[in-house]
């Protein structure tokens, strides 16, 4: 078991180190996120109640779209020089490889989101710090949902030519329940309502989604990579 986690960390550290050297995915994702937030702030009146009501949805749409740029690079990073062959040949399980990549993606997505969040607060005149610990929990759960599904889709599409198009096409429809839950909870928390018995079902749904898709991905990834 220790070997498994050691391998997960080695893969995650490798991906993060490579990304920090090139900054290809994180820069693109962050720029995309900020531009979309800025453009939407021109389209809506930031002082309006309606805008604040849709802000949770808007935020997660931006995170999902910008996140695609990070997730697309995840397995595609292994294509130059046939590095994926070396990883598959190494005595590590597909699950360790997947989890390592997912953790690296999670860190990068979270970094993009945490930079975007204050900008979002300023552009949309939203006080998002009121229930920050709860919001952070939703952010972590929602981001893991996006990460685990996106990393799996990245592995599935790594060898096809239209992977940049196929990844969002395959990811978003399956992600809908998690996105809905994250949007509802974010909206509720930004509006100042705490998580209570009325909305806790969304939180349970998000946790359930994370658990199910993480388990399914860990089981299936070896088949996806080797066939």
């Amino acid at each position: 078991m220790m070997d498994f986690f050691r391998q997960v960390l080695v893969v995650a550290a490798k991906d993060l180190r490579a990304e920090l050297r090139t900054k290809e995915a994180i820069n693109g994702s962050l720029a995309f996120s900020l531009v979309i937030l800025l453009l939407f702030s021109f389209a809506f009146d930031p002082t309006g109640d309606t805008t604040r009501e849709i802000s949770g949805g808007l935020l997660w749409i931006v995170f999902a779209f910008a996140g695609t740029l990070i997730l697309n690079r995840s397995f595609a990073r292994e294509l130059p020089n046939d590095c994926l062959d070396a990883l598959i040949a190494a005595p590590i399980s597909g699950a360790a490889l997947f989890l390592g990549k997912a953790i690296a993606n999670f860190v990068l997505l979270l970094a993009m989101e945490l930079v975007s969040l204050p900008i979002f607060g300023i552009f949309y005149n939203v006080r998002w710090t009121g229930q920050f610990p709860e919001l952070l929990l939703v952010l972590l759960l929602g981001t893991w949902a996006l990460t685990v599904l996106g990393t799996m889709t990245s592995a599935l599409t790594v060898n096809i030519r239209l992977r940049e198009v196929m990844l969002p096409l395959l990811t978003y429809p399956v992600l809908v329940p998690a996105l809905m839950a994250a949007m509802q909870l974010t909206m509720t928390l930004i509006a100042g309502t705490p998580i209570n018995s009325e909305n806790v079902m969304w939180l349970k749904m998000l946790v359930g989604f994370d658990v199910i898709y993480t388990a399914v991905s860990l089981v299936l990834v070896e088949t996806v990579l080797v066939g």
Binding site: A18, R21, S93
Partner: protein
């Protein structure tokens, strides 16, 4: 027990059989040269041996176990068409990464040792993207040998190598054979391959057209096997 045993392997790409009932053996300490024209199935066979894809029919055993077993993967060193090292990492970072993935006890020490053996110790901290082609190839060789594999699977190992890299690889392969390791290599460079090979297998359109020990005739005339068993 054979170090590498291929029994009745078929592999289809769609309807096309890339491998047809391939049966091959390589004993421990043997060097099997897989030769054949482009599209004969050499790379497909090596990829199945390395566990990158599964055969449609038949079975493959490496030291008696399946290629995808974790223990088997520790025994295999694979050098493919790509160099399989990361451009954005340095030479030492690349080798340390793979040493860790293979669970070597002292990853950094093993990486440093192999950089010295392949003459890359002076550029250990340099990023691979700044390396010349020959240096990249030598690093790829170091990566394949790093974990002291007992079975080496090499796909066109001499292609695109500069003189120095060829000399390094030949020296390492001779040392590996002297240590009793098994080598299976596909190649078009018959002279270099036959120089090392103990056995030769000729693949022709996915089938084994010839399989046997290397003979003096083959060394004297590299085209001998093609003329006799191939398509001329």
């Amino acid at each position: 027990m054979s170090a590498v045993a291929v029994d009745g392997v078929w592999k289809y790409y769609g309807d096309y059989p890339a491998l047809r009932d391939v049966k091959l053996d390589a004993a421990a300490g043997a060097c099997l040269a897989l030769i054949g024209r482009n599209g004969a199935g050499k790379t497909t066979l090596l990829r199945i041996l390395a566990g990158f894809s599964r055969p449609g029919r038949g079975s493959v055993r490496i030291c008696g176990t399946a290629p995808r077993d974790t223990a088997t993967r520790r025994r295999i060193g694979f050098l493919g068409h790509g160099i399989s090292v990361y451009d954005e990492l340095s030479a030492i970072e690349n080798l340390t990464l793979f040493a860790r993935l293979y669970g070597l006890k002292e990853p950094r020490k093993a990486a440093t040792e192999w950089l010295e053996r392949t003459g890359l110790d002076r550029v250990a901290g340099g990023l691979v993207r700044e390396f010349s082609r020959g240096m990249r190839q030598r690093l790829a060789v170091a990566r394949a040998f790093l974990h002291n594999p007992s079975v080496l699977l090499l796909d066109e190992p001499f292609t695109a190598l500069d003189d120095r890299a060829i000399a390094v690889l030949q020296r390492l392969l001779r040392e590996a054979l002297a240590e009793g390791k098994t080598i299976v290599m596909s190649t078009h460079q018959l002279r270099e391959a036959l120089d090392l090979a103990t056995h030769v297998a000729l693949l022709n359109r996915g089938s084994v057209a010839f399989n046997g020990p290397r003979t003096a005739e083959m060394v004297a005339d590299a085209g001998f096997l093609y003329a006799r068993y191939g398509e001329g």
